[in-house]
Amino acid sequence: MDVILEGFTKAFQLLASLDREVLGIALLSLKVSGLATLFSLVIGLSVGTLVALTSFPGKKILVSVVNTGMGLPPVVVGLFVSIMLWRNGPLGYLELLYTPTAIIIAQTVIATPIVMGVTIGAMQNLPATLRLQILALGATRVQMVWMLIKEARLPLMAGVMAGFGGVISEVGASIMVGGNVRGYTRVLTTATVMETGRGNFDMAIALSVILLLFCFAVNYILTYIQQRERPR
């Protein structure tokens, strides 16, 4: 029990003293996962909406693939992204392996199916007559889609939160494509693994506490947006 208490004490010390290294690690985590979530939101929302609102042959298969992707194991993504980004791999000329950008790419791959899957589900859950009604009231197609997205706001934000929670807490892909390079690609989760390996349990707990605080803060903001207006 002592070690947990020490960890909490250390966490508050580190936060209060604004320890530069820890602050850098925490900010990088937020930046990388934030951007990955943003990208996955753009891709997931647009493609998800398109899939939900149109019908085409093979739709069921596509939706099943997306739904499977919602549980994509981060290490598998990490492995494939690593192989693609290897110096002598297909995208090696980009020189992206072991950079924060590489982590963003991997995390985007992880989060996109989550956002997309939730989007498809949320859009299909709206009453089918709603679309017709909006169009009948003279809305353009763009306005119609925008209104549907607003209508499905609650589950969509839940999807964003799930995506962000998934990537900021993920360690396998980050360590494989980022390499846990000090001051460059070290994020909260990879730093926690390393400090545990070094026997710095108090530091590891401190980092975990900071990670949880971050998750809470971000989810609080997202929940706030989600609950802005009471659903009817």
Binding site: L35, N88, E95, T99, P100, I104, G197, R198, G199
Partner: protein, 288 residues
């Protein structure tokens, strides 16, 4: 509540800004990259945290330290995915160089391996003359042995010791592989009260902080030496490797000043140095 609501755009803007920022720094830091693939022990002991910043300051290179087992580090070298290696698996290293993957292999430092076990020593191996004897006793007593099982230098050494003892531990009930780094495997052994082979550096560094409850059972045999070499990845095989940087790093590791830092690293904190500098010496002089 209304005030928070009005501040919301600021939160969102900050969030977006902080999200975009790393891409720019990502590009800026890419001019002079050097990928160092190394063992977990050099990172877990904290030695590289001391040396790398000095090297970066001296030469302007940006070092990406990828801390994996020696086996994986050499695999990265074989594929041209690393520029320079700092590893401790002499037999595999010789093959690595002979196969044309590495050049300029230089002796850097050593420490030693120790056989550790729980303080109450259930298999009674304390004071065994050789590590091989100790392993035989462990096997006979069916006492839990924890192996890293990750093709690291430590794992390679352990395989050699088991071979010398005439034991094939694979698949035995008392033999468990963690597949983890040295520090994590020490933690597992501490929790499960098992025996294991570890390098002294990581053990000392970890035991000081985590009080593992593991004690040294066998030590001091020449066979248990743990020798670190620096190897540049062959640029003739992989034109994309940063050979200039690799050479600079190798020279830095065997320079007088670095060797001095290695000789004092950890002395204050642990009472004895974690590594002993060997630059310029022949491996034979270490008693191999």
């Amino acid at each position: 509540m209304n005030r928070i609501f009005r501040m919301l755009p600021i939160f969102v803007a900050l969030f977006l800004f902080s999200a975009v920022a790393p891409v720019s720094t990502g590009w800026a830091a890419q001019q002079k990259n050097l990928i160092l693939a190394t063992t977990t022990s050099t990172q877990d002991s904290g030695l590289l945290d001391v040396l790398i910043p000095i090297f970066e300051k001296q030469t302007g290179y940006f070092v990406k330290t990828i801390s994996v087992g020696s086996g994986q580090a050499m695999k990265m070298g074989e594929k041209g995915e690393a520029d320079v290696l700092l590893v401790h698996s002499p037999d595999a290293e010789k093959k690595f160089v002979a196969d044309g993957f590495g050049v300029d292999r230089k002796l850097v430092m050593h420490n030693d391996f120790i056989v550790l076990g729980p303080a109450n020593d259930p298999a009674k191996i304390r004071g065994a003359k050789t590590a091989a004897d100790a392993l035989k006793t462990v096997a006979k007593a069916n006492a839990l042995w924890l192996s890293r099982g990750d093709n690291s230098g430590t794992h390679a050494k352990e395989k050699g010791l088991f071979k010398a003892a005439g034991i094939n531990p694979e698949g035995q009930k008392w033999f468990q592989q963690t597949g983890l780094g040295m520090g994590e495997t020490l933690n597992v052994a501490a929790e499960k009260k098992g025996y294991l082979l570890a390098d002294r550096g990581t053990y000392l560094a970890l035991n000081k902080k985590a009080h593992l409850g593991l004690e040294i059972m066998v030590q001091g045999e020449p066979k248990l030496l743990n020798i670190y070499h620096v190897i540049a990845v062959n640029p003739a095989k992989w034109p994309k490797v940063n050979n200039v940087g690799a050479k600079a790093f190798a020279d830095f590791m065997v320079s007088k000043k670095t060797q001095e830092i290695i000789s004092t690293f950890g002395k204050k904190e642990f009472g004895s140095p974690l590594f002993f500098p060997d630059a310029g010496r022949k491996p034979e002089s270490l008693g191999l």
